[in-house]
């Protein structure tokens, strides 16, 4: 579904991603892991078109999309939950959700009920400003917002940061459910091993801007963890 | 040694004053053209040096210095506002330059290096008030002006003059507004009330520049007609009117030394020449243009007479020079560097022109120092020997302050 070939990325003079290759199967649930600063967020931003890549190719369903603007990628049904949530702080919860509606392929004009089924808190807070929500509530809103555009691929950057345990579990369930029942392709960046193991079905390990290991989640052993995740 | 005679043009081409001054720049250019066609001066061609002081007063001084030292011009035609003239004055005096100032102003000045070809208050304000008093039998007066020196002085003079003529304190209303004032509702309404007291009322307006348009619009809209309360203005000429829909203003007055509408051969030629030069049939002429015209021609005559462009010689040659006005009659440069000119009162017509309704019998000599201000009653200016002073006190027989 998504292929990344020889991706390089620089911030000013500092190169972050080095000839990175990545392949994501349709319908998979891939967990990207790596130390702080390994370049995970950078990779996802490149994939989403929010950062320009200095070289390399990104293929979506076989078509190169590295030239496409972020909004076009959203229209191709890629949903994105950024690290740090990036809620629109002065829009109400409802408006935060409405933003994505025009990007839907089916032209629906109303926020789908499904979203509220997954995150009932949001229904209560529809009229509150996004920025006023607590951190965890914002995280839920961010996921819900990505779901509104009815994505085929869902990109989640550390979705559990600051979320209470029972909701973390719930998010895990939701992601699994979306992946398995709706056939959504999920790309997940996660630091917490437990969650990654439970939700992800494949893993990619990153170090210094390159993918060092890729396999089924069941094959993630202590050796790899020590090598790529320990400090 | 120069092959050309350089004429500096120091008028704002941008900023707030561009609206008025650009015309004068073009006038000078036209005069230079004309003079060159006539063969130049002293056998040399004239060359205009134009700079833009951008309505920025310190920049006026800087540009004057640039003209005099860098470009080494022989004469400057320039300035409109008093403050720009005040800013330039020390520079022109220091470098002993020669400047012609073509705009009506508050007087109270006479410099060896400057010739004032616009009207001083006694050539504009006093005759206008005389007219209103005698012909229109005005008994109540509104003196409305922009808050700066020209209106302040003019109104001071008028106030003294009116009181001397027996007008009571409560029959004079004075109001000052800031530059570019655009909301005249309250003031016009006050004027209306002031004028509703049963006595014939007139407004003497020293409102400056852009503020006039909204003022007249408001007058028209509040139904203050020229028959009820005529407004006589000293800063509104043909050019200002070209930006207003004059329909509602018909009958209001202005006092000037020149109107485009005055019938005379010379004037007709001048207007045609101007329209051709600027390439616009609708462009109008106005009083400061005539002042520039007279100033330029007098300067040319003086240069011919002196046989040089050297400032001191030209300055002395200037005094006593005569040149025909565009409106008929002869203007004469007096010892105090001010002109003798006729004064006209015109009524605004619906085509934006003025119809002369009154004029002085002969010419009026411009006063450098007003007779109606306590500080300057005793002062005169005389640039001929033996006095050679811009502010000579006739009482103490001394030339106060002036550093020679």
């Amino acid at each position: 579904m998504i292929r990344i070939e020889k991706l390089n990325q620089k911030y000013g003079g500092t190169q972050i991603l080095w000839d990175l290759d990545l392949n994501i199967e349709k319908g998979s649930c891939t967990c990207i892991m790596g130390r702080n600063g390994a370049g995970k967020t950078t990779l996802l931003k490149c994939l989403m078109g929010l950062l320009p890549a200095s070289s390399g190719r990104i293929l979506f369903d076989g078509k190169p999309i590295q030239q496409a603007a972020a909004q076009q990628r959203a229209k191709m049904s890629i949903g994105y939950v950024p690290q740090g949530r990036d809620i629109f702080p002065l829009l109400t919860v409802e408006e935060n959700l409405q933003i994505g509606l025009p990007a839907r392929s089916d032209g629906l004009k109303k926020i789908p009920e499904r979203v509220f089924e997954l995150f009932p808190v949001l229904k209560e807070m529809l009229q509150r400003r996004g920025g006023d929500l607590s951190g965890g509530q914002q995280q839920q809103l961010a996921i819900a917002r990505a779901l509104v555009i009815d994505p085929k691929v869902l990109i989640l950057d550390e979705p559990n940061e600051g979320i209470q345990p029972n909701i973390v579990r719930q998010i895990g369930d939701v992601v699994t459910q979306l992946n398995q029942e709706d056939g959504l392709t999920v790309i997940l960046v996660e630091q917490k091993l437990g969650f990654a193991r439970r939700v992800g079905r494949e893993f990619r390990l990153m170090q210094k801007g390159a993918v060092m290991a890729a396999d089924k989640m069941s094959n993630l052993n202590d050796e790899l963890i020590r090598q790529y995740l320990a400090v | 040694a120069a092959e050309t005679i350089k004429v500096g043009v120091l008028h704002s081409l941008s900023g707030t004053m561009a609206i008025s001054e650009t015309t004068l720049k073009d006038t000078v250019l036209m005069m230079v053209d004309e003079q060159n066609r006539k063969g130049g001066l002293l056998g040399k061609k004239l060359e205009a040096v134009v700079v833009d002081p951008a309505s920025d007063w310190p920049l006026f001084a800087e540009k004057a210095r640039e003209l005099l030292t860098k470009e080494e011009v022989d004469v400057i035609f320039g300035c409109w506002t008093s403050v720009s003239r005040k800013s330039v004055l020390p520079v022109v005096e220091e470098l002993n330059g020669l400047m012609f100032y073509p705009v009506q102003y508050e007087g109270e000045e006479s410099s060896k290096n400057v010739f004032y070809t616009g009207a001083s208050p006694n050539q504009q304000a006093i005759p206008a008030v005389d007219y209103l008093m005698s012909d229109l039998e005005v008994e109540r007066w509104v003196l409305a002006g922009t808050d700066y020196v020209y209106p302040r002085t003019t109104n001071k003079i008028l106030e003294a003059y009116l009181k001397a003529a027996g007008v009571a304190e409560e029959d004079i209303m004075i109001s000052y507004t800031p530059f570019g004032h655009s909301d005249w509702q309250g003031i016009v309404s006050d004027i209306k009330k002031f004028g509703g007291a049963g006595k014939k009322t007139a407004v003497v307006s020293t409102i400056n520049g852009d503020a006039n348009v909204p003022f007249y619009k408001e007058l028209g809209n509040q139904g203050v007609s020229s028959e009820d309360i005529p407004v006589v203005a000293f800063s509104v000429g043909e050019e200002e009117l070209s930006g207003i829909d004059t329909g509602p203003l018909v009958g209001h007055l202005a006092a000037w030394n020149y109107f485009q509408g005055i019938d005379s051969e010379a004037n007709e030629y001048f207007v045609e020449q101007w329209k051709a030069f600027i390439g616009d049939e609708k462009r109008v002429t106005n009083d400061p243009m005539e002042a520039t015209y007279i100033g330029f021609n007098m300067w040319a005559k003086a240069v011919e007479k002196a046989g040089t462009t050297e400032v001191d010689a030209v300055e002395q040659a200037m005094i006593g020079i005569e040149f025909p006005n565009l409106t008929g009659g002869i203007a004469k440069m007096n010892k105090n560097h001010h002109l003798s000119k006729p004064v006209f009162i015109g009524e605004i017509q619906d085509d934006g022109q003025f119809e002369v309704v009154w004029e002085t019998d002969g010419v009026v000599a411009g006063d450098a120092w007003s007779d109606f201000l306590p500080g300057s009653k005793d002062l005169i200016a005389d640039w001929t020997a033996p006095i050679k002073c811009g502010n000579y006190n006739t009482k103490s027989k001394a030339c106060s302050g002036q550093v020679q």
């Binding site: 078109g49 972020a70 909004q71 702080p89 | 229109l136 930006g243």
Partner: protein, 543 residues
């Protein structure tokens, strides 16, 4: 009661005036024919013309009305050769079309050399107006009649009184009748020596707002010769009552002035509330967008000289398009490159404003352009003699509110409003949600600029249309937006009106300059109290 009084007065006046006979009969002396008078008109001095007008009125009466009207309008000319008197209409092409003054028959075109104007000046014009008033009192429309009576109040001589009585008898009602009664009362107060009659007259005059009434009462109160203390006291009381009413209407007028100033501020600021308030661009070229709108009005009037009445209606959408597209161009060409550097926009837009100003100067000359006020925008709605509302201000007030409402609807109802806010809060995230940020930016900037252009159309009716037009509003606009609270449209509305009203209520006692200064200082102090304006953005995120 009133009716009875009314009758009494009429009878009294008629009795008073009976011996002199009918005024109309008197105005037909034998001998002078109108034609012979007319013959003297060409070339007459102004003074002579005045005399001739008097003779014409006597000779021709109502028949001369067209002549007087044409003369008053300054359209009366004579053919130099034949000395024939004609009315002239000027055309756009500066030629002159003549017609017969009375018969209206067309007489063909003339050049300026063939004809000469019959000059009128102020004095003649007021004489003409009075003459017309006399004619209209008997023959004119209701409005003309009213005007005529009002004009006569200032000069209640015998001749005028006779006319008024005749008018009364020929049957008038309503306002005109009231005014004639008033006139009668004024005469009675002036001429009668009987205390009761005079008191009665004062009773009628009490509370009437016509300036002539007030002046007469004032004179009476001030008159040291006046012996009748009761009359004087009554006059004083009547005067007080009048003053009270004037005071009230004065306040009302002040309020209207304030609102009107407020509407101007609102209009000027409203576009900025979008480009600056919502998008965060410190748009120094905002004033020039207003200026472009005003120039558009000018151009439209030049293009359709025949349709002055509709010119503003055409100009509104035209100005929106012109300023809007310039806005879009600016956004696409410059602002776009400054994303993430909001403060730098001040530099770029300052440069743009210089360029636009100079461009206008080069294209249209530095002079002010003449924008004509259509007749429906001129004049005022007279509510009573001391309170009237000028139409242009009134319409502009309504127009400002309408624009504001339209804008609110656009931003609330279309997705544009939502998208703009999203983009301004987090551009990247908006992109990631599929918002076409570039489109949104361009549209918003275009909308803000377009509205500024529309404001320019309105302002062209109040002030100069020149290259500096924009400069005079830019500072006020920023002030209003910030005072109301950046990003809050309602704030801009309330801010504009409160600044306007505050200014106008201070003005009478302080003068225009001090009032302005005090409002500014007040604004500075206010912001200390509410650092985020009248309607601040609240909540965690706004900190």
């Amino acid at each position: 009661m009133n009716a009875l009084l009314h009758k009494l007065w009429s009878v009294a006046i008629v009795l008073l005036l009976l011996p002199t006979g009918s005024p109309l009969a008197q105005s037909e002396p034998a001998g002078i024919s109108a034609d012979s008078v007319l013959q003297q008109l060409p070339g007459a001095s102004l003074k002579k013309t005045g005399e001739l007008i008097g003779q014409l009125e006597q000779a021709g009466g109502a028949e001369m009305r067209p002549l007087f009207e044409v003369m008053l309008a300054g359209e009366l000319y004579f053919v130099k050769e034949s000395k024939q008197i004609i009315a002239i209409t000027k055309t756009e092409r500066r030629t002159y079309i003549g017609r017969d003054v009375f018969g209206k028959a067309a007489l063909g075109e003339f050049t300026s050399r063939e004809i000469k104007k019959i000059r009128v000046n102020n004095r003649l014009r007021s004489q003409l107006r009075e003459t017309l008033a006399r004619i209209d009192l008997l023959h004119g429309s209701k409005l003309a009649q009213k005007q005529a009576v009002l004009a006569m109040l200032d000069d209640l001589n015998d001749k005028n009184m006779r006319l008024l009585t005749t008018a009364q008898q020929s049957g008038v009602d309503g306002e005109v009748a009231r005014l004639i009664d008033l006139a009668a009362a004024m005469v009675q107060l002036r001429d009668s020596r009987v205390s009761e009659e005079r008191l009665e007259a004062i009773g009628v005059m009490s509370g009437q707002l016509e300036p002539a009434v007030r002046n007469q009462l004032q004179r009476l109160v001030n008159d040291a010769q006046e012996q009748d203390l009761a009359v004087r006291a009554a006059a004083q009381k009547a005067l007080d009552k009048i003053s009270e009413r004037i005071e009230f209407f004065g306040q009302l007028e002040q309020l209207f002035f304030g609102l009107s100033l407020g509407s101007v501020l609102l209009l000027a600021a409203i576009g900025l509330a979008i480009t600056f308030g919502v998008m965060g661009v410190i748009n120094m070229a905002h004033g020039e967008m207003i200026m472009l709108g005003a120039y558009t009005t000018y151009v439209i009037q030049q293009l359709f000289p025949g349709a002055i009445a509709y010119s503003l209606l055409i100009a509104v959408p035209a100005a929106f398009l012109v300023s809007g597209s310039v806005g879009v161009l600016i956004e696409r060409g410059v602002i776009r490159h400054l994303q993430g550097r909001p403060l730098e926009t001040i530099l770029a837009t300052f440069g743009i404003s210089l360029i636009l100003q100079q461009a206008v100067r080069s294209i249209f000359s530095p002079l002010n352009m003449q924008v004509v006020t259509p007749s429906w925008m001129s004049g005022s709605l007279v509510i009573n003699p001391v309170f009237s509302v000028t139409y242009n201000r009134l319409y502009i007030l309504l127009f400002a509110l309408a624009i504001f409402a339209a804008l609110v609807v656009v931003l609330k109802k279309s997705s544009l409003g939502l998208n703009v806010r999203a983009v301004s809060q987090n551009r990247d995230m908006a992109k990631a949600m599929g918002v076409r940020t570039e489109m949104v930016d361009a549209m918003t900037f275009g909308l803000g600029s377009g509205i500024a252009g529309v404001a320019g159309v309105a302002l062209s009716q109040l002030t100069n249309v020149g290259p500096n037009l924009g400069q005079s509003y830019i500072i006020d606009s920023f002030m209003v937006v910030v005072f109301g609270g950046v990003g809050n449209l309602l704030g801009t509305l309330v801010g504009g009106f409160s600044l306007g009203v505050a200014n106008k209520f201070l003005e009478p006692s302080m003068g225009a300059v001090l009032a302005n200064i005090i409002v500014l200082v007040g604004l500075i102090l206010f912001i200390q109290k509410r650092p985020k304006g009248l309607f601040p953005q609240r909540g965690r995120a706004a900190e």
